[in-house]
């Protein structure tokens, strides 16, 4: 059934396995012991940051597929995206992997928009292995959206740190003992007139609160039904605004509310408001959350990935930042 962006998956496709790769700095993340691979070199021993970006994604896909004893040639679809212009890193990974590919852009919400599409293809019986995910590489993304890293520009405390990480999930038809995708909500773009790219958490918070509200209302669930409701990369300051906005909509805020970006680098003040980037939600959802589900700590979770849909040009022309949040619900039943 599809109604106003609300999707229910009757066949309950599974996230059979995941693959997560990350850069050297991400070793200090409290989630790092759950990542499949951490590189010692921020350029992954390639020539450029963008090549490293593509390599991380390739490796994440290979690792995820190898866990179900599959090769890239066995996979039916590759649905991935990133933040670099025209998503060239994803395009290069797709060339190497040679899996039928559609690049998808929802900024930092790509981890969930791709998972929803993979679940749809699986639900329709058209896919056995659909690889969904997203990645970001700090140096490549920062130089595009903010300042080149060697410029050393000062940042306010609301600024977030783009993570170097890639996360993918292999979506298959329902498989026992793995988390299944029960329903999803496609977000509507929300623009409340924020223009500061160094405070994206505040710009994205209304979109996250809106999608959360629509999901709970549309699928007739309560916030207390979930063991965890995790947003993507609102960061420390954006997360507070989001909780306030959700509270204003009558949603009860509990300890089960988490934000991947706020938690990613722990309490290190060097990272200001925390992590951001398409790889942030992808790497945490597909390691920490799926891991906790497999261990039985979480039975039912709601993942809301948030994305700021700006471009360097729209920022330079002083345009506002439209934001989006997509939600997917997973269960261990």
């Amino acid at each position: 059934m599809v109604r106003k962006g609300l999707l229910t998956f009757k066949t309950m496709p599974s996230i059979a396995t995941t693959g997560v790769t990350a850069g050297p700095l991400e070793k200090q993340s409290p989630f790092s012991d759950q990542f499949d691979k951490i590189y010692d070199d921020e350029r992954c021993d390639t020539k450029t940051n963008e090549h490293a970006h593509a390599k991380m994604m390739e490796d994440a896909c290979m690792i995820a597929l190898s866990k179900v004893d599959a090769n890239p040639s066995d996979a039916d679809y590759l649905l991935i995206g990133d933040l670099v212009n025209q998503m060239t890193p994803s395009n290069f990974s797709a060339t190497t992997l040679a899996i039928p590919y559609i690049g998808m852009f929802s900024a930092c919400a790509t981890s969930i928009s791709t998972t929803i599409m993979a679940a749809l293809l699986t639900e329709m019986g058209m896919s056995k292995y659909a690889v969904a995910g997203a990645s970001s590489q700090h140096n490549a993304v920062e130089r595009q959206f903010r300042y080149p890293i060697e410029y050393g520009a000062q940042k306010p405390e609301t600024a977030q740190w783009t993570v170097t990480a890639a996360g993918v999930a292999v979506v298959t038809p329902q498989k026992k003992g793995t988390p299944s995708i029960t329903c999803a909500t496609i977000g509507t773009a929300v623009d409340l007139g924020m223009t500061d790219p160094l405070n994206m958490g505040a710009a994205m918070a209304p979109a996250a609160a809106d999608t959360l509200y629509r999901h709970l209302k549309g699928h007739q669930t309560k916030e207390s039904d979930y063991d965890c409701i995790m947003t993507g990369d609102l960061g420390k300051s954006g997360f507070e605004i989001y909780k306030k906005l959700a509270g204003n909509k009558g949603i009860q805020i509990t300890e089960n509310f988490r934000d991947a970006g706020a938690e990613f680098y722990g309490d290190d003040p060097l990272f200001l408001a925390g992590a951001s980037g398409a790889g942030c939600s992808a790497s945490v959802y597909f390691s920490e959350v799926i891991g906790k589900m497999m261990k039985g700590e979480y039975q039912r979770v709601l993942l809301i990935a948030t994305g700021a849909l700006l471009s360097p040009l729209s920022f330079q022309q002083k345009d506002t930042i439209p934001c989006i949040a997509h939600a997917v619900e997973l269960t261990m039943k």
């Binding site: 921020e42 140096n139 890293i149 000062q154 306010p156 500061d196 060097l270």
Partner: protein, 120 residues
């Protein structure tokens, strides 16, 4: 002796406070902030106000980027007195040439020998 340290600290610090306010309150980019301070220094010297500030605060006025604007105007006006209007063009880089050349030279050396990395 000690008093020049204090005045340098206060005046230099105040110039930096203006820059920080341009960042945080006016939400300008680093490039805009830099340009505004250079132009401000240049205009102040045009009215003959920057030299007295240097006499008063020493390094507090010569170290911040406003001093670069001061030097541009200073050189231009000195040459203009000698050679007329064309002196404005030749004089602008008369005083500042050492700073500009140093920036180009050291930038070149750094780019030949080093590869940019993440901040940490």
């Amino acid at each position: 002796m000690i008093s020049i340290f204090i005045t340098a600290f206060i005046v230099g610090g105040l110039i930096c406070v203006i820059g920080q306010l341009l960042f945080d309150v006016a939400k300008l980019t680093p490039a805009h902030t830099l340009c505004i301070l250079v132009v401000a220094g240049s205009i102040l010297d045009g009215f003959g106000l920057y030299e007295p500030l240097i006499d008063f605060a020493g390094a507090g006025a010569t170290v911040p980027i406003t001093s670069f604007g001061n030097s541009l105007t200073h050189g231009a006006m000195a040459e203009a007195e000698k050679h007329g209007l064309i002196g404005v063009l030749t004089g602008m880089f008369e005083v500042t040439s050492s700073g500009i050349s140093a920036a180009i030279l050291f930038g070149f050396i750094a780019s030949v020998f080093f590869k940019p990395k993440g901040k940490i």
